[in-house]
Point group: C2
DNA sequence: ATTTTTGCAAACCTTTTGCATGGAA
DNA sequence: TTCCATGCAAAAGGTTTGCAAAAAT
């Protein structure tokens, strides 16, 4: 969950132009609070008559991913989805029922990386953690 | 890294038939010590004149994944790859230079899952950790 | 004016499916 | 002999690309 302006600022700060399609897309993304696929954004943009081209959506997602305001997830089903995120958080729990996602701090994971270095001898430089489960709203006893 | 027979046993134990193509594929997989994609197995099977069909490779990988002797990875590049693994280990460090992979015990990760439950209220049921780095052989100072 | 960005459509790549044939049990 | 597994080729997804037109700086 991120404001439209944060997405636009990310484009601006990195020297990308603030075009109509990018503004439109930023709004579509900001209006979602769970994860989304490129195809979903495309469909939504069609519904709202924003007329975004497929290529534009993919290119923008790519850019936003590089800028760190969006992150690509690989769901257990193999689908590629995206979530918006603060540049400092690096992981998410995603609800397997409603798709909502919540950031997790990287602390524990960093420790883990250190352990891995110690036990395997690898020089770790990237990691990706994806946690799936039921969010409080979707839990049976809530 | 896994023996051909382990792969075959997995098929057998689960009630799948031990067919020629499955034997052939098991050997191709066993001969690889790093991760591999479906396409690579296909290419290798072509080179060895094993004549495996594309569908067969995908179906077999799917089955082996369900049986837990193979695991699907999503590399940072977005590629889908597979590694063989013992059914009890659930994570890997993979070398970004040579592709070799080493299993990591799940211990620390399980703790992490508990922390996540506590801090977010999610009921965690699956997680996926992928760690990337340089293996000892590919490290600059080795 | 210059350079980036867009949309379109086609190309691409990977994975899946339908179905008749072949092979295991 | 029965049912599972295979191969083929086509279909289906999802993502990328080339290029001329449009928009931002």
């Amino acid at each position: 969950m991120v404001a439209t302006s944060e997405l636009l600022d990310a484009f601006g700060a990195a020297g990308y132009r603030l075009t109509g399609p990018r503004r439109a897309l930023a709004e579509v993304i900001a209006s979602r609070e769970d994860h989304f696929t490129a195809e979903e954004l495309l469909a939504e943009s069609g519904r709202r008559r924003l007329g975004l081209g497929r290529a534009t959506v993919f290119r923008a997602l790519d850019t936003l991913t590089e800028l760190g305001v969006v992150e690509r997830l690989d769901l257990p089903t193999g689908e590629h989805a995206f979530v918006t995120c603060e540049p400092t958080h690096h992981h998410h729990v995603v609800c397997s029922s409603c798709g909502r996602s919540t950031p997790i701090s990287d602390d524990g994971v960093a420790d883990l990386a250190a352990k891995v270095e110690a036990s395997t001898g690898y020089r770790v430089d990237t990691h990706r953690l994806e946690v799936f489960g039921l969010c409080p709203q979707c839990s049976p006893e809530s």
